[in-house]
Symmetry: C2
Subunit: 445 residues, 2 copies
């Protein structure tokens, strides 16, 4: 029988196979993850709510179901960590805010319900920055405790990176999945806007919010995306179309060698010198597969359009609760943003929303010719200190709602991980994963 | 063979049957309508673009197609008048504004393309108020030339009322289908928001704009709605679901006697005394089928929410073109609205959009118990003079996007027509038409 150390090194797919085949019980596997958490949580601080008894009881119930010959789902017995902005009926959901201390939702969010239906164990709730915005929580980067894990899905990224769990769910309004995944050296996927329901989640901006996932392999990302994707009448940005079979598509060979557009973007100069040269080298290494491409000049306004929409939508959503909390209840950073958002005019807001649509239509042309856009995930490796780092390399892709994945293929300062971001065509998340898998094959050692 | 006078009295369904059976040619029928237009257009002023030669040439081509044994559509040879805010490739589209004088679109709007595919003859473009807002065009009410036909779909309502055409298309952002239909004594239908595509139409507000229809019978309304309804990838408020068979549903007997909620609404006191007593009498006449019901008090804010959304959306859409035109290019009324809209904050706008969703959800409860809401279409009969009258009895139903139909069942001052408005559940336009047909049977003489 496997020892604890071995078990937490399993991928979700390996563990699910062993559990499905009876080689491993959900209780043993969840127990191994809980042991790992117990050993390092006091230094990493990934979780805000954790109830080992409740997690083990879910696992035992799943083992019982399997023993009784019931059908089992694709995540049967797999522990998944959930960012604490998604409602759970069994744990509090506090959204990283003192104002919501002790809040206990009545019902699971749609993504939690889907995970449970697939047999997952909801192992606990992970640290989010305050209201999924910038003010950091206590989580540290498992690769270097002096550094930030990034935000806002800080705990989810750190928990996967530290092998506390094989899978975690986060969210991205600006750069909150791709950035912490890059900083923590794991795979992060922010799928097409509307692929995954946000019903029962903290909403900052319906236009910008995406549910995303963290895993230590691309195939594990595909496994959980397949469970999460789908139409939900309670999220009007989801669509009543069948979700693709991500795992199957991921494993396919591309019919022709993918063509990649290397897009530096208007924030290129904000990346540090090491990152810039790492990406130039990477593009060079890929040879004919990669062509450098500039976005149209007008797209530089996209960063301000994103800021406008985010500030106005968050002011709309959060002003009442933050005002009730007074000055002590929230960070100055958040209150400043809400004040900024309250000053946005409807005309400016609507113009920014229209601009986002125009950028998206324009990008469709690129995807007529290229399979994916290659660009940095972050300006560099995770910075030291508390600040969660800049989302600038994610902002534009959140604005246009295109699927993005970051691959932990590079290393920077101090050996810290640095993500390689690929962007795909809206709605074609499966092709993006296939292209990412191809890139992995080309570059992985 | 029928004489001209008889032909224009035909319903669209009757005419389509005769044309389909070879008893009448499209050329004869369109010719009869053109004769009728020639006789009275100089007093009614329903059309802004009319080219009899072009209309007859469409009709002859349709006759030729039928003679050659080709399949024919449900509107084969039926002339339809189009509000001049819908793009047409064969006529200018000027949206009632001097600023767009001579504008010639390259392509048909989706609704015009759908009509052509169904065999309709696009007979001409009808007068719209300036940018489908309040500033009136030259159209007069066929029942009394001293009175307004209502707006903004002035020409479409008047053309159907004057038997120039059996069918016409209009649009409603506030009360621009239901009000002119009520004033002109014809059936008007404003279907569920998103049932009919607005691609290629002047957009004032994606949230509030609806395509609607005018006809002299309910069955004719159903006939054209069936042609117009449907998913259009170019209008993201349309849905990829099959449109119902309106004609078939209309003719069904309700499985149980419909229950009607008589809703006076917060604007009840703005209706004139004759209208209020006519509706009280009507509700009484329907006996047990009707129950008086009040909307929740909070819904009174809906009228201001509508104004907020309309002003901000129109400021977003029209400010640039109106500013280019200077003071002489547009009405003071329009410029005042745009100035008002430019001052709306994004937070106020987003709150109004949220409120509209809340009202709609609340109304769903009413439709769990009632088949339709009964309420006046207008404050009273068409007023004298140029002003197009108040849309107040339509405003709330435009805000929430519920289907509305007005039936020309009452008469008021000077024998002028007065519409009876029924509101149905979102998405169940077919049931609303069936209920309207039942009401017709109960009340028609």
């Amino acid at each position: 029988m496997a020892v604890t150390g071995d078990l937490v090194a399993l991928t979700a797919i390996e563990a699910a196979e062993k559990i499905s085949g009876g080689e491993l019980s959900a209780e043993e596997y969840v127990g191994a993850c809980l042991d790992r958490i117990a050993a390092i949580e006091s230094t990493v601080h990934a979780f805000v709510h954790l109830d080992p008894g409740e997690a083990l009881s879910q696992a035992r119930a799943l083992d019982e179901r399997r023993r009784n010959g019931n059908a089992i789902g694709p995540l049967h017995g797999i522990p998944v960590a959930i960012k604490d902005i998604f409602d759970t009926a069994d744990y509090p959901t506090e959204c990283g805010s003192a104002l919501l201390k002790g809040r206990r939702p009545m019902r699971d969010s749609t993504i939690v319900a889907r995970l449970r239906s697939a047999g997952a164990v909801i192992i606990g709730k992970t640290v989010s920055t305050e209201f999924a915005y910038f003010h950091p929580g206590p989580t540290r980067n498992p690769h270097d405790l002096e550094r930030t894990p990034g935000g806002s899905s800080s705990g989810s990224a750190a928990a996967v990176a530290a092998a506390m769990v094989p899978l975690a769910v986060g969210s991205q309004t600006n750069g909150s999945v791709i950035r912490p995944a890059s900083f923590c050296g794991v795979y992060g996927v922010k799928p097409t806007h509307g692929l995954i329901s946000r019903s029962g989640a903290l909403i900052l901006s319906e236009a910008l919010d995406h549910v995303g996932v963290f895993a230590r392999t691309l195939a594990d990302s595909a496994l959980i995306l397949e469970v999460l994707a789908g139409y939900d009448p309670n999220d009007r940005d989801t669509r009543p179309v069948a979700a693709p079979n991500f795992l199957e598509r991921l494993a396919e060979d591309p019919p022709v060698p993918p063509r990649i557009a290397f897009v530096r973007t208007p924030v290129w100069d904000t990346a540090d010198a090491a990152t810039r040269s790492a990406f130039e080298a990477l593009a060079g290494q890929l040879g004919d597969s990669v062509v450098a491409l500039d976005l149209p000049d007008s797209y530089a306004a996209g960063w301000d359009d994103h800021r406008t929409i985010m500030a106005a939508d968050m002011a709309h959503r959060l002003t009442a609760v933050v005002e009730r909390g007074g000055e002590g209840g929230s960070s100055q950073m958040l209150r400043d943003l809400l004040a900024e958002g309250s000053k946005v005019s409807a005309m400016r807001y609507l113009a920014a929303r229209d601009a986002a649509r125009r950028y998206r239509l324009g990008l469709d042309e690129i995807f007529g010719e290229y399979d994916a856009i290659l660009t940095p995930a972050t300006m560099g490796v995770a910075p030291k200190g508390n600040a969660t780092g800049s989302p600038a390399f994610c902002t534009f892709w959140s604005l246009v709602g295109l699927p993005a994945v970051t691959l932990p293929l590079l290393n920077g300062e101090g050996g810290m991980p640095l993500g390689v971001q690929l962007i795909g065509q809206a709605g074609d998340d499966a092709r993006l994963l296939r292209t990412a898998n191809w890139l992995n094959g080309r570059l992985a050692v």
